[in-house]
Structures are given as C-alpha cells and as structure tokens.
Subunit: 215 residues, 2 copies
DNA sequence: ACCTGAACACCGTTCAAGT
DNA sequence: ACCTGAACACCGTTCAAGT
C-alpha cells in the first residue's frame, strides 16, 4: 500500500518520489519504453531517461551497467512477452493438426510484432548487438524444438511435402522475421501495400508459404 | 594527374593532403566504410571520420548535412552494388527458365549480403531510418516488376504452383531479407549453424522454398 | 570555394560526498 | 544502501575567420 502510487494520503508535499526505496529499476525501464515510443530508439539517452524519472544523471548506473544494458533489459521484457504471445497463439489452436499449430506459431509471431512494433524493434536491435544471453538461447532452442516436432508429426500424418524439416523451420522463421522487419523498416508502402493492410498481407504471405509446404 | 594519389613527385613535404581540391567527399565515405568495418556501425562518429581523413571536425558538414546523411550516402553506394550484383546473378542464368531466374535473384541477394555484411547492415539501417528516397523506390519497383514477370512466365509455362504471384514475390523477398538479417545479427550460431556454413544453409533454405512453389 | 578551430549544448560514465 | 552533483572525455553541429 505504501508503494502504491494512489496512496497519497500522507505527506502530500513529497511531489517527486525519492525512489530511495521505490522501484527505480522498473521506473527507468518504463521511462525508456515511453521514450522509444515517443521519439524512437535513437533518441534514448540515459540522461533523458534519468530526467524523466526525476533522478540524477548517474543514478541509472546503479541499476544498469551502461546504456546498452538498459536497452537490453527492455528487450528482455519484450522478448518474454513475445514468447508468451506465441505460446498463447499455439494454445488457442490446441485441437488443430500439427501443421496448423506450426502456422499458429508464425501467425502469433507476426501478430505480436505488428501490434508491438516498438518492442519488436528493441528485440531486433538487441540481436544486432548482443551475442546471445543464455536465457535467450534456451528459449530459441525450445521453440525450435517444438517447431521441429510439429513438422515431424505433420510428416507422419502425411500433411507435409517431403523435404528437410529443419530447413522448413528455419524458412518459416526467417520469413516471419523478414516480414516483421520489413514492417518496422517501413518497407511495405514502397511495396504497394498500405500500412493498415501490412499485417493482413503478411499473414496471407505466410499462409501461402504454409500451403506450399503442405502435401 | 594532379588529383592522382600516385603523383607524389612534387612537394613531398606535403604529407597531409589539404583536400582543398581533392575529393574529400569520397575520402570521407571511404573512411566511414573502413571505420564501420573495424568497429561497427555504432562506432561511426563524424569527428572520428574527420580525424581519420585528416580534416577538422566541421569539414564533413560541407559535404553531408549531418551524420545520418553521411551514413545514408554510404548506404546508397552499397545499394547500388547490391542491385548490380543481383543483376549480374540474373544475367549469369540468361538461358535458364523463368523460375530459375527468379531463384537467381534471391541467391544473388543472399550471396552479396553474406559476402558484404557491413554494407548490407548499412543498407538495412538506412531502411530503418529513412523514409525511402525516390531512386530507391524506383529500383524496388523495377526489381519487383521483374520478379512478377518471371513468375507470370513461370505460370504460363506450367512451372509454378497455383497461387498469388505477388505474394510469392513478397515471400521470396522477405525470406531472403530475413535470412540475411539473421546472419548479420549473428543468429545462426544459436540456430545450431556455424557461421562458415550459414550462406550454404541459407541457399538451401531458399532452394527448398523455390522447390515448394514449383508445380 | 573550401577548410579551420573555437564555441555550444549535448552525451555516457565515474566517483566522492551526502542521506 | 542508494542517490546527488560535479567532473571528464567525448559528440554533433554551427559559424566566424582564414586561405
């Protein structure tokens, strides 16, 4: 109750919270996300984040080793949500056949990336810089294993066109990743696709890929 | 002859060229590329580029409006080379069938991107920031038109699986783009693929895509 | 016409000193 | 234990002054 922002009954003169016991780390992450949403990734400076959070320029360095670590932490949170969204998309199609489940992973990825372009951009930027954290690697391994299994099952039930399974997996992943990147890079307009339609079009492209690799 | 760097017969004491008539613009571009190759995109500062070129901190601004414009100019050169490489790849397969030509475009793209990761990264970074130059848009339109034609012909000659042509085109492009991005992002190792093998594997994935969309 | 070099307003990061 | 605020070495960019 004491940490709740709505608990303003005592000491109303304390306008700026001192964060001396509050959750500065979380506040910094929130401010960073908001700053990215307002001004883009490039505009993120540790000083500006500190300013928005009402602390001194040096304060963030008690919680994050450097600017990269701050952005990396934002990416970590974002990736957690992405993985969760993909997982939910998979669970929504629980009764579907293996190939439809494989599709659900890709569609879940696309839906989330298009709905959260800022977060996807941070994830993507992290990949560009950081040489994989162990948690990230584990999650990748897990998801890849799931996709491989699904395609094995699809093969067993005669749903899949013959071919190298892990190359279908990598292909699906690269396709979804490429579409999402093209979106955040603003490439769709120059491909004759209005922004409003880019998710639908991307899903259609992915669906045609799924149809192509069907038996 | 006066502008040739090998014409060092007169005035050997003039160790640092003054660039007062030389091609400072080109020298700055070269220094930028070299800096990116040595230290990465993030390390590019206008001041460091100026330092390496032997000019004052303000000099580059006579040739480029700002840091972004400098990087953008590097990207422009890079993109020219990419387009040229793709064109050559296409011409190498002049006698091939339409679908093989379509394949040649994708493979040419992949080969170039993997052989020139630095340049590809700059191109990709530019897309992230700049809202398409007219030249870029034209080149995109042209290439897309070519790919569409090829798939039309492939359909006419019964080589292509039924489906939406422009979605195959977009799919092929997104797939190649995604694979190239995964490479420069260093994602292949965490996909169980050694860096040395990532081009071959990417080509194999793309080839399996081509096979999938074959009739 | 093209470059210098000082100047300004910023940054990331560190670290003693405060609470 | 956690934050402040001064300090340092950078940056991007501008602009008078030099050649």
């Amino acid at each position: 109750m004491a940490t709740s922002p709505s608990a303003v009954n005592l000491l109303p003169k304390q306008t700026k919270p001192s964060y001396h016991h509050g959750d500065l780390r979380r506040a910094l992450l929130d401010a960073t996300v908001q700053l990215i949403e307002e001004q883009g990734l490039e505009a993120v400076s540790v000083r500006e984040v500190a300013r928005r959070t009402g602390v001194s320029p040096g304060a963030p360095f008690r919680h994050f080793q450097n600017r990269t670590a701050l952005l990396s932490a934002v990416a970590e949170v974002a990736q957690e949500r992405l993985v969760q969204a993909v997982g939910e998309s998979l669970r929504d199609d629980e009764k579907a056949d293996p190939l439809q489940k494989f599709r659900a992973i890709g569609i879940g990825f696309l839906r989330w990336a298009f709905a959260n372009p800022t977060h996807f951009q941070v994830i993507s930027a992290r990949l560009e810089i950081e040489f994989d954290s162990p948690t990230l690697r584990d999650r990748n391994d897990e998801l890849r294993a799931t996709m491989n299994q699904l395609l094995s099952q699809a093969t067993a039930t005669g749903l899949l066109r013959p071919g190298d399974l892990s190359r279908y997996v990598l292909g699906g992943r690269a396709l979804a990743y490429g579409l999402a990147r093209m979106h955040i890079d603003g490439q769709f307009p120059s491909w004759g696709i209005e922004s409003a339609n880019s998710l639908n079009e991307s899903i259609a492209v992915f669906d045609q890929f799924i149809a192509s690799i069907s038996a």
